[in-house]
């Protein structure tokens, strides 16, 4: 029924958009842990950890949007990542984007390392470097693109080719772009992960993670792990996320447009040392991203020249919240060294260029005149 329909239409109508019993156009919140069983014929649901109708509507929706066979909802992006990482065995080796989210770095280096998972962190925007890092025990590429916080662009098409040559699976974190702008499964990636706390939900009010598998084999394995490990998303949060997704397209259109304006403006400012935004002509990943995605997203990072500027911005800005997280309707300014990437080893941060003068701005829906005005007043 939805085949061939535009993305913005599918956002509204792909998720069990009608309750079969009442016709309600918003799926009910099934706040229930267990379900009556018919001893003669098992029904679709028996226990909410294994399956819940509200969560299922969300899972079907994200699978539809990403173009996979099945979706999975988790209690947080990290619960999603942790569950997917459980696919691997001791001794397995993964090649991972080096400037990835600090929380993913932490779980890889302090939890999964104890179980014998081996990791090489490489600059995944350099496909050759990725291929060089592959060893006989490598099982997967784990790619974040655009990367966090420096917005380096990896060419998923090339990485998928490399992975297929070496019989590896490719996992992509699509948090920054969402399926509205980029659909990694269509480029050959096997598993997509989201911190749905960010753009997918978009309102700074739900902590959630989503996973989509391209084929049945991984869907079965991840489904087993989701149920066995139990890091599932609750029904109320599932419902809020479905609600958040309804406006994903229009939010991202505006947020990306605002981000382009802010990035352009930052470039003109004497107190700014460098601006990182894939939509800028000067960005080295711009061409690749424009080939694999239909937009550049709403995250802009920039380095300031003087430490006093950093201090002034953090103290005086009145519109962007100084906080972790991103992707919300409200603009959020993050200091990666002390916030999102505090969990990353200092040596690793230095190596990547995540320096103390770096700030990350998640551009919201505020009018950009107000945002620019706020920045100008803050640095005075």
């Amino acid at each position: 029924m939805l085949k061939g329909k535009a993305f913005n239409t599918r956002l509204l109508h792909a998720a069990a958009d009608r309750d079969p019993f009442t016709g309600a156009v918003s799926i009910p919140i099934y706040q229930v842990s267990t379900f009556h069983q018919d001893p003669d014929k098992p029904g679709d649901y028996d226990y909410s950890r294994s399956g819940n109708p509200t969560r299922k509507a969300l899972e079907d929706l994200i699978a539809q949007l990403e173009g996979g066979v099945r979706g999975f909802a988790f209690a947080s992006g990290m619960a999603a990542t942790s569950s997917v990482l459980m696919l691997f065995q001791p001794g397995d080796h993964l090649v991972v984007s080096e400037d990835l989210y600090g929380g993913s770095f932490r779980v890889l280096t302090t939890v999964f390392d104890r179980w014998g998972l081996k990791i090489s962190f490489v600059d995944s925007s350099d496909s050759e470097a990725v291929e060089k890092a592959i060893t006989p025990s490598t099982k997967a590429l784990f790619i974040e693109t655009p990367s966090n916080p420096l917005l380096k662009i990896s060419d998923l098409r090339e990485l998928v080719k490399i992975a297929q040559r070496h019989n590896l699976i490719t996992i992509a974190d699509n948090t920054f772009l969402t399926p509205y702008l980029c659909r990694p499964l269509e480029l050959g990636v096997d598993i997509v992960i989201h911190s749905a706390t960010k753009f997918l939900n978009g309102h700074s009010d739900v902590l959630a993670g989503l996973v989509v598998a391209k084929d049945q084999e991984f869907a079965d394995k991840i489904g087993f792990l989701q149920n066995a490990l139990g890091g599932v998303l609750g029904p109320q949060d599932s419902w809020l996320l479905i609600r958040g997704l309804k406006t994903l397209g229009i939010r991202l259109d505006r947020q990306s447009a605002n981000a382009q304006i802010m990035a352009n403006w930052f470039q003109t400012q004497p107190w700014v040392e460098k601006v990182y935004y894939p939509g800028l002509e000067s960005h080295p990943g711009r061409q690749v991203l424009s080939e694999i995605a239909s937009g550049f997203g709403a995250i802009v990072s920039f380095k300031v020249k003087e430490p006093e500027i950093l201090d002034k911005l953090v103290r005086n800005l009145t519109l962007p919240a100084v906080a972790v997280s991103l992707g919300a309707v409200e603009s959020i300014l993050t200091h990666p060294v002390t916030m999102s990437h505090a969990a990353m080893a200092p040596a690793q941060r230095d190596k990547l260029g995540i320096s103390n003068n770096l700030l990350r701005l998640s551009v919201g829906l505020e009018d950009t005149f107000d945002l620019i005005d706020d920045f100008l007043k803050a640095i005075k």
Partner: protein, 383 residues
């Protein structure tokens, strides 16, 4: 302060507005006053005000120093198991919840975590399997579904002398009836979906620890692995806790009556309930808990009776899970314990004639009438 007072007051006098019911904080993230300064909350995965009220409440109720809330009982156990590394050995109750067995045998075994399954109601059999690399005893008491009782004091003592952790799954008792940390255990875990949630409407897990070092480890893993409980579900659990004392009392009262009634039924071969004098663990249970709980298992005389009973119960629901105000009947053979190997199930007595009854707060005669017609009544047309 008596426990019912503590329960009723959870979350009160905590909010700046004076709200008696603590608010649901949906916020995923929190503004920082300045760089390097924090309100105490940064990001809801690391800490959320509503979750904090719940976590502090369960810590207080269990007599521990810190509590942690997870998106399910299995997420709680998964996070706890992440404390261990390849080569570590655990001693685990043999007739434990099938989901925990599955997690250990199908997931953590891949990571080189070794497990011995023993009868934890027998301390000697636990002692015998301790190895140099043993890191913890993980026990359920009373067990699921056979309600065998482990002596928490003795197990904790043994664990201490051998420098290993004693972890107790307190799901069946709740801190109303049993507080394992006071008996010497190090960590308590709950599927809070069950008696603590108590309304068959929230999937959740809780962990409580008795020292700073463990609090730090579990807190780290909760944040790093991220299987935290959402704010709405935390709020529902806070709400549930307020009536926990009343519910447990009512459920236990009903369970005692039903257990005795079941022992008089000719088509019931065996009844497992720790409150029965002839139950093997009765005395240990009396010495370490303030009651016997609301769970009963019973074996029917013949396999043919099983589908008949499951089809005919009208008030009692045939469904997985337990601990709610609504009575549920479960068939462990194909439901909760389907993941245990058949040999293990048969050896333990989790056979194909066994049913598990989670007793709710309905009027007890209605439950008796329902079971009586389901077990003994004439088959109806569809029967």
């Amino acid at each position: 302060m008596k426990i019912n007072t503590t329960l009723a007051q959870i979350g009160n006098r905590r909010d700046a507005t004076g709200a008696i019911s603590f608010p649901v904080y949906y916020s995923a993230t929190f503004s920082h006053p300045a760089l390097g300064e924090s309100t105490g909350f940064d990001y809801s995965r690391s800490g959320n005000p509503t979750r904090q009220v719940l976590e502090q409440a369960i810590a207080q109720l269990e007599g521990g120093i810190a509590g942690f809330a997870f998106s399910s009982g299995m997420a709680a156990i998964t996070t706890l198991l992440a404390m261990f590394k390849s080569g570590d050995h655990l001693i685990v109750t043999e007739d434990l919840y099938g989901g925990t067995y599955r997690l250990l045998s199908d997931v953590f075994s891949n990571y080189g975590i070794e497990v011995s399954y023993v009868d934890t109601s027998n301390v000697d059999s636990v002692r015998e399997v301790i190895r140099p690399c043993t890191k913890a005893i993980l026990c359920e008491t009373p067990t699921n579904p056979l309600l065998r009782v482990a002596d928490i004091r003795k197990l904790s003592e043994l664990a201490k002398t051998r420098n290993i952790l004693c972890i107790v799954d307190n799901t069946f008792m709740t801190p109303i009836l049993q507080r394992p940390l006071e008996l010497g255990a190090d960590i308590v875990i709950h599927s809070a979906t069950k008696f603590i949630g108590g309304h068959n409407d929230v999937v959740s897990g809780l962990v409580v620890v008795n020292n700073e070092q463990l609090a730090e480890k579990i807190g780290y893993l909760q944040n790093a692995m991220g299987a935290v409980l959402g704010p709405q579900d935390c709020w529902l659990l806070i709400r549930s806790l307020k009536t926990l004392g009343l519910r447990i009392t009512a459920q236990e009262t009903n369970a005692k009556v039903l257990a005795h009634w079941l022992t008089t039924q000719p088509l019931v071969k065996k009844v497992y309930y720790p409150g029965l004098l002839e139950h093997l663990g009765h005395n240990v249970q009396k010495s370490q808990a303030e009651g016997f709980g609301g769970m009963i298992a019973f074996e029917l005389e013949s396999l043919e009776l099983v589908p008949k009973v499951l089809r005919r119960v009208k008030t009692i629901s045939f469904a997985e899970s337990l601990g709610g105000v609504e009575s549920l009947i479960t068939y462990p053979w194909t439901q909760t314990h389907a993941d245990l190997p058949i040999e293990t199930r048969e050896r333990l007595g989790v056979n194909d004639c066994l049913l598990r009854l989670s007793v709710g707060i309905e009027y007890v005669q209605d439950l008796i009438d329902d079971l009586a017609q389901a077990i003994g009544g004439e088959d109806d047309a569809q029967g």
